[in-house]
Amino acid sequence: MSDLSRSVAIVGVAESDEIGKVENKSNLQLHSEAAYNAIEDAGMKPSDIDGIITAGTSTLNTAEFMGLTNIKYTDSTAVGGSSFEIHIAHAMAAINAGYCETVLVTHGEAGRSARNRPGPNLSDPASQYEIPYGFIGMPINYSMACMRYMHMYGEERTRQALAEIAVSTRKWALKNPKAYMKDPMTFDDYHESRWISWPFHLFDCCLVTDGGGAYIVTKKEIANTLPKKPVWVLGVSESHDHGIISQMPDLTQTTARRTGPAALKMSGLTHDEIDLAMIYDSFTYTVLATLESLGFCKPGEGPDFVANQRTAPGGDFPMNTNGGGLSYCHTGMYGMFLVLEAVRQLRGETGERQLENPKTCLINGTGGALSSTGTIVLAID
């Protein structure tokens, strides 16, 4: 796949008009606001869009809501919050195969304020074997994975790592005017926050907020004609190895163990050449397991890797500079927002939290019950 590297670029990114607590807007309204803003950010027109991708609803709904009818490629791949990383890979494939030229990827989820929510599908395995036992919601699922990690690698040092991640991520959020959490977090604040599902404190868990996001992927020839500098897609990889948590082959390793090395190989870059890591942080533990799975450190070494606020502002491994799902915004499927921050950092558009001239970013999305991953490597010229 390395011949596809740099064949497409992300040329427009945006959130919906508001994020956080947004009452009286449907999911589709959030999709369409973000799409409007991303098309404007790209300097394009709605009629330029000939491919459409989303997750969590059908593209029949999103395209109709926005009145997009010039559709030559459609994709509703939904494997949880990582879907929006995987969508970059699918857009790259579709554009290179000649299906379409410009793909709009949208997300909208009133995670906090939705008036209506879907019910469970009673024929799913989860409905028979997990949900009746109270395996309901991701904090419980992920906390059992984290408990296994603690058993293997030590409770005290794991706990410290979770705290490091929560505190460093909050520091970034304080530099992002759009972040939901506005107050500083000390280590004591972390340790004293209430239990949700042991071993998780409240501050191990992501926010539950409302919001939309969108980005546009187009081919090189078009990207080079647009007003903003293209952010090139260098490497992509996707995978999953289970659906429900009790079926996960190894509770301490996600499929990022495959997608990380594969995306890096395609990109031609090494771990050391990544200037920014955008790592899906549904929970503090998600970050710990993911950094190890991606190969930034060995299994069990994550607590040493993130020690001493290394991922915070001023640290030598900047990560989740938007404040993450932990402190900025988490709608339910957060992967969209990883892409927005990656592109903005590479373009130099992030104000107070801007890194010094970053050229490369690795994004890793995680979806479901640690089920799916998508790894993307981006770069700017």
């Binding site: 469970p120 009673l122 024929s123 395995p125 409905s127 028979q128 074997y129 997990e130 949900i131 009746p132 036992y133 109270g134 395996f135 309901i136 919601g137 904090p139 419980i140 906390s143 059992m144 994975a145 408990m147 296994r148 058993h151 209430r194 239990w195 949700i196 599902s197 042991w198 071993p199 998780f200 429900i244 948590i245 009790s246 079926q247 509770l251």
Partner: protein, 137 residues
């Protein structure tokens, strides 16, 4: 058993009717693949090897604690009176991992040791369904 059971109730599917019938009779049954051995959850065609010549086997009901969480915040209104309660993945003596609850009074991390021996018990929640759960031996 009571009629005011407020938690989600499993809906048996064709390939799992036998599992739930046996659970109601307070027996735990697994499917076994000729290549990879016993597996959970039950489906006719084995996972991975995708063999059709699988069979039902009766499990011993013995297990060890593989991992757990102590749930402090009820994830559903039906669990309001249960918190704190223990969700767990246990490793059955036959090998497979199984999601369940650990029945234990006033759960604390100190009372729950990964690897501790467990045995199956059955909670009858209505006329058709009994949930296999586990308690420390």
């Amino acid at each position: 058993m009571s009629n005011d059971y407020k938690k989600p109730i499993p809906s048996p599917q064709g390939e799992s009717d036998f599992y739930w019938e046996k659970a109601k009779a307070e027996e735990l049954w697994l499917r076994e693949c000729p290549v990879n051995g016993p597996y959970f959850y039950p489906r006719d065609i084995s996972p991975g090897a995708m063999r059709k010549d699988t069979k039902w086997i009766k499990a011993s009901g013995k297990a060890t604690l593989f991992t757990f969480s102590i749930v402090e915040r009820a994830p559903h209104p039906g669990f309001m009176d249960d918190v704190p309660f223990v969700t767990a993945i246990v490793q059955l003596e036959e090998g497979p991992l199984m999601p369940t609850n650990i029945i234990i009074d006033d759960p604390t991390p100190e009372k729950l040791q990964i690897g501790m021996p467990l045995e199956v018990v059955f909670e009858h929640i209505n006329e058709k369904i009994a949930l296999p759960k586990f308690k420390p031996v």
